[in-house]
Symmetry: C2
């Protein structure tokens, strides 16, 4: 279903990012893992505090805390309530989780830009980050050597008169042929922790079928990107920089095939690996800090997530 999209007059007022404390190397690839006792809650708060500071706002100015994370910290309550407890206890700020796994941040910006535009909320704090290291299987080298623990956050707010910022277009599709190509089968409702035994222990680890994902992406992504650009009436040349989900080292193969040559997109897989839901906002935050993204630039956030879900969001930063 093709629906004409209204431009949303919102802006990212500030961003922040935080890395886990242990730095490890696999060849030239650097990864970060939580230190004993360190949690994604702490990293999330660190990133969110930076985002608030850069926005010139305080937590009291927010009216919604959104955790756009791929994995739960506890089965109950939602992640946003646990972040709320660390940052906003005693307040009545709303707390909501949005989850489309690795592209949750893009989905959250997509959804909450509509809510800000329509006046349902005014100032939103969005946090992403996952405890990747909690479920990595040393036996599956492809994923064990790929992931990092990190967090990133942003303040999303109404664009003021004179601001160039806006969300021009967003699209999300899910292709559930790939629902089991990236998964953690155990630990939750379908296979509780109590059911773990020596025979099914592997089901509680992160399990990635990299080859199958690449095959499904090769089949679906080029057409998806072409349709989005056509719908948005934007050409690849109009785009200043693409921030893709830092899915894997295959980024350097996939992005040129989608029509984005080296230099047009951010690739920090060697430096940070795949930080699950934090990858996109972390890369955007770093790009803003280094001057690679400036106010008014046309930026494309995109990526694929477990599901398989694909996101495409065009914003004037």
């Amino acid at each position: 279903m093709r629906v004409e999209q209204k431009t949303k007059r919102v802006k990212i007022a500030g961003m922040g990012r935080a890395l886990a404390g242990e730095k490890i190397n696999f060849g030239h690839q650097t990864r970060y893992r939580l230190l004993p006792g360190q949690t994604i809650l702490e990293l999330g708060v660190e990133a969110a505090d930076q985002a608030l500071k850069k926005s010139g706002m305080r937590i009291e100015d927010m009216d919604c805390i959104v955790c756009a994370m791929a994995t739960p910290l506890q089965a109950i309550p939602c992640n946003a309530a646990l972040i709320h407890e660390k940052m906003a206890k005693g307040s009545s700020i709303s707390a909501i989780d949005i989850n489309t796994t690795c592209t949750s941040f893009i989905s959250a910006v997509d959804i909450f830009s509509c809510l800000v535009d329509i006046g349902r909320y005014e100032n939103i704090l969005i946090l992403s980050g996952d405890t990747a290291s909690a479920a990595l299987n040393m036996e599956q080298r492809e994923s064990y050597e790929l992931f990092s623990d990190g967090a990133a956050a942003c303040v999303l707010t109404r664009a003021e008169k004179g601001d160039l910022s806006e969300i021009l277009y967003s699209r999300q599709e899910t292709w559930s042929e790939g629902a089991h190509d990236t998964e953690i089968r155990g630990g939750c409702g379908l296979m509780p922790a109590f059911c773990m035994n020596e025979g099914n222990r592997d089901d509680y680890y992160f399990d990635m079928k990299g080859h199958r994902i690449l095959k499904l992406c090769a089949k679906k992504l080029p057409d998806f990107v072409d349709r989005c650009l056509e719908d948005a009436r934007i050409s690849r040349d109009d785009i200043h920089v693409v921030i893709p989900h830092q899915a894997s080292r295959a980024l350097g193969i996939i992005m040129p095939r989608l029509g984005f040559p080296r230099g047009k997109y951010i690739d920090r897989v060697e430096q940070y690996g795949n930080m699950v839901s934090a990858s996109v906002p972390f890369a955007l935050c770093e790009a803003e800090e280094t001057g690679r993204v400036r106010r008014g630039d046309l930026v494309l956030l995109m990526g694929t997530a477990a599901g398989l879900t694909a996101n495409f969001l065009l914003m004037r930063y």
Copy 2:
């Protein structure tokens, strides 16, 4: 922050509901639990199929599948991707999870009514339901005898010319003083399944501190409800029926204290118990089937959820 709210011209086009297969009784209280091999995925699909049928629509007409559930089925991917696989494999319908625990359905209607109103999506399938029985602790009788496994679903779509349906007002607040009053600490990122041992096994069960929740609700809820009604410029007399979250047998004490006497609200705790995220849509669906709710009626969906989160949503059904 008080923001003037726009009325959203959306309607619930159809609803459905499904109960787990095992019926058990604790005194006069009836509860439902999943049969061996039965899952919330099946119940969700059953409820969603009914909702589509009553709407006169097919899954192909939907452009977004939203799982508004309190608990994950797997840590990865999100619940909506797993439902998508059962109902919409081969399609490109978007799949998103929204989680505010027990009031997730109200939050999803709140959020997606804005997205439909602004034209981001057109037809949304919302499903709620949780595997409560997967984490119940026989030692904690208060919760063990309270919960049921069930699912409910609705199709949310644009209201046509002549339709009376609309969302008039919605508000959500989180009071994280109560973040640990209802929780499942283990199984996910903060305490993975691998960490379970004889000493911490209880952390992997659902844990409810009923007395503390009631105390926090007594302190916060009356003022919350008063403020919402004042903001919405609606009096209690204008409301045809209140559909509260079926939190516990204390409903009959709390609701009159909030100014809603017996007969004004739906109480099905004796018949079904607390079905977590499914409670509100299940009760709304049943009320519609029995004629208790009719088109054009002013209906209040409300409740408190683990977090502690409170939701209040006024709709003309």
